[in-house]
């Protein structure tokens, strides 16, 4: 499920206030103050301690794909409110507020482009929009991306960063897990194309328990929180403190759940080499 609590270090880089008229920026993890452009040039990774801050969807497309090759698809698909869900706000009001705050339509960006000249389908969760939670829109866009990959016989790369299924769309959100995974199965069985799953911080709940851990190759960023149940839920269930590093990328590598941990700067060459090995 979507977690709304953020630790200080998890605050979105895009929300960050820079110091001294936007010239300097302080790392929340190691405390170093550097020129803001040093963070930007390093793809939102602290040059000093290596902490990976969040990157926007566009910045990911720029980082991974050939310059100018990315074209976004399936824009203009919007959520409705089939449950008439209200917590502290009505869901439609929450959607409007999230759109206004982030400038995004929902929590998923999909599109196509080339990577080292090879046509690929690329998708990225947009965590800033309601914690990257997966409802009908996110599920629909991912499904269409897998279907496009199947039809065009192209590999699919999906960057996950999500608290899980979107509670406000209830059971319909749960069903997006089945819809997306069924489309992924077709990519494999009918088009024999690889699915590269990139796991960012955090990938939990219904997103972890559907396609995210089903990559032909699973690649995680360092220190990303990846798991089925959130740490707080587990602590409340077993009534004990969790060990340090539990559910972090390194823990998953040790337990055989991810293939590779790649720093952001190594992500493009890592994916590109795997695709070359598989597809020539």
């Amino acid at each position: 499920m979507a977690l709304f609590g953020k630790t200080k270090a998890d605050v979105d880089a895009a929300d960050k206030k820079t110091l001294g008229r936007g010239v300097f920026r302080k790392c929340d993890v190691c405390g170093v103050t550097l020129r803001a452009e040093d963070f930007t040039a390093n793809h939102e990774v602290c040059p000093e301690c290596g902490h990976h801050y969040r990157l926007s969807g566009e910045a990911w497309a720029e980082l991974l794909l050939d310059p100018g090759s990315f074209e976004e698809r399936d824009l203009g698909i919007l959520s409705r409110d089939p449950l008439e869900f209200t917590d502290s706000k009505r869901y439609p009001d929450r959607l409007v507020a999230s759109r206004k705050k982030t400038g995004l339509e929902d929590a998923m960006m999909v599109g196509e482009g080339t990577m080292a000249g090879r046509p690929v389908q690329l998708g990225a969760f947009l965590f800033r929009f309601m914690g990257g939670s997966m409802g009908s829109v996110v599920g629909e866009k991912i499904t269409r991306m897998f279907e496009r990959g199947t039809e065009k016989k192209q590999p699919v790369i999906l960057l996950s960063a999500s608290g899980g299924a979107r509670m406000q769309e209830g059971i319909l959100s749960l069903m997006q897990m089945a819809k997306t995974v069924a489309a992924l199965r077709r990519l494999r069985e009918e088009a024999n194309q690889p699915f590269i799953s990139v796991l960012l911080n955090p990938t939990t709940g219904g997103v972890a328990a559907s396609f995210a851990l089903l990559g032909d190759v699973n690649i995680a960023e360092p220190q990303a929180l990846i798991g089925f149940a959130g740490p707080r839920v587990i602590e409340n269930t077993i009534r004990q403190k969790l060990p340090a590093g539990f559910q972090r990328s390194e823990f998953l590598l040790e337990h055989g759940m991810v293939d590779i941990i790649a720093e952001r700067s190594a992500m493009r060459p890592t994916i590109s080499r795997i695709l070359s090995h598989l597809l020539g």
Partner: protein, 315 residues
């Protein structure tokens, strides 16, 4: 017999009638008293069962006397052979899987199993499976697919278990892999939510050609308790969360998530387990007869189309 708070007036009155019948059945005066009480029970039932709140229905889905998977298996199937273990780590008693005959044909039966006694509850982990439970289910589904045997799943879980071992052994991967396997299986699949349909742990057995729900079962992305603790940091507000989640059978039907709702005996399946099982058996026969007409490729395409269509968007 355990009973819920709102059932109390009915259960107490029924108890009273039973006692009167045992001690004074031939007494003429008593006879009049009994028929008056019986009328009152009927009134009370109409009043209480006719006006159940959402939360009371959620409580019925978790009723301590509610028939569990194996209660239905013994009433509906013959020649049951249970298969154990995931061939990698353990045998998870929270999921029971095997083969059985249903009116002359062999089928795979797979379901979550809760425990009745305290000891059994612990052994079955309250129906909350670990990854090895889903992997056992997958083994049996795969086997059924190879031999063209229909797969019948029975869903009744608060959710997949959230614990250290479950995470270490890949709870996420196990659920995702089970969803993927079901979506491509070459046999007919019929899933029935018989109690609690809790989140990913339920869906891991739920990717079927036809999905049915018992009248007082629930199907939800999160438990009302979990939802309340996220939204309002207070699990005690679960009844309020239950109203928001639209987790009852008629809701799931309206949203296109299930294909049919099986009526339960008045007051819930626990009041007349045999009757509940007979209704479930009829539904299985009906659905299976239709699904058996489809080829493996048609079954896979049918399942794809079914889930492909779920979701509400505009634009």
């Amino acid at each position: 017999m355990a009973h819920l708070e709102f059932e109390k007036p009915i259960v107490e009155l029924e108890e009273r009638i039973r006692e009167l019948k045992v001690y004074g059945i031939r007494d003429r005066g008593m006879g009049g008293e009994i028929s008056k009480l019986e009328e009152r029970v009927v009134e009370l039932q109409a009043e209480i069962y006719g006006g159940l709140t959402i939360w009371q229905k959620v409580q019925l889905s978790r009723h301590p006397d509610r028939p569990y998977f194996l209660d239905y298996v013994e009433r509906i199937f013959d020649d049951v052979v249970e298969l154990h273990g995931d061939r990698a780590y353990a045998d998870d008693a929270a999921i029971v899987a095997g083969f059985a005959t249903f009116e002359g044909r062999s089928v795979a039966v797979i379901g979550h199993q809760k425990g009745r006694t305290t000891k059994e509850k612990v052994r079955r982990n309250f129906g909350m499976a670990h990854p090895e439970g889903y992997r056992k289910a997958m083994r049996v589904m795969e086997l059924a697919g190879r031999f063209g045997r229909p797969v019948l799943t029975f869903i009744d879980t608060p959710g997949a278990y959230p614990g250290i071992g479950a995470e270490e052994r890949g709870q996420s991967e196990a659920i995702g892999a089970s969803i993927a396997l079901m979506s491509g299986l070459r046999s007919p699949i019929l899933a029935t939510v018989i109690g609690e349909g809790g989140s990913g742990g339920a869906l891991a057995l739920g990717v079927a050609n036809r999905v049915l729900m018992l009248e007082f079962a629930t199907y939800s992305v999160i438990t009302p308790e979990g939802c309340a603790s996220i939204l309002w940091r207070d699990g005690a507000l679960a009844p309020k969360a239950a109203e928001q989640l639209k987790l009852l059978a008629p809701d799931a039907l309206r949203l296109g998530v299930v294909d049919g709702v099986i009526d339960e005996p008045r007051g819930g399946a626990h009041r007349e387990p045999d009757e509940a099982a007979a209704a479930l058996k009829d539904a299985i026969r009906r659905e299976l007869t239709e699904l058996e007409r489809m080829s493996p490729d048609e079954l896979i395409a049918d399942r794809y189309a079914k889930f492909r269509a779920i979701g509400v968007t505009e634009g």
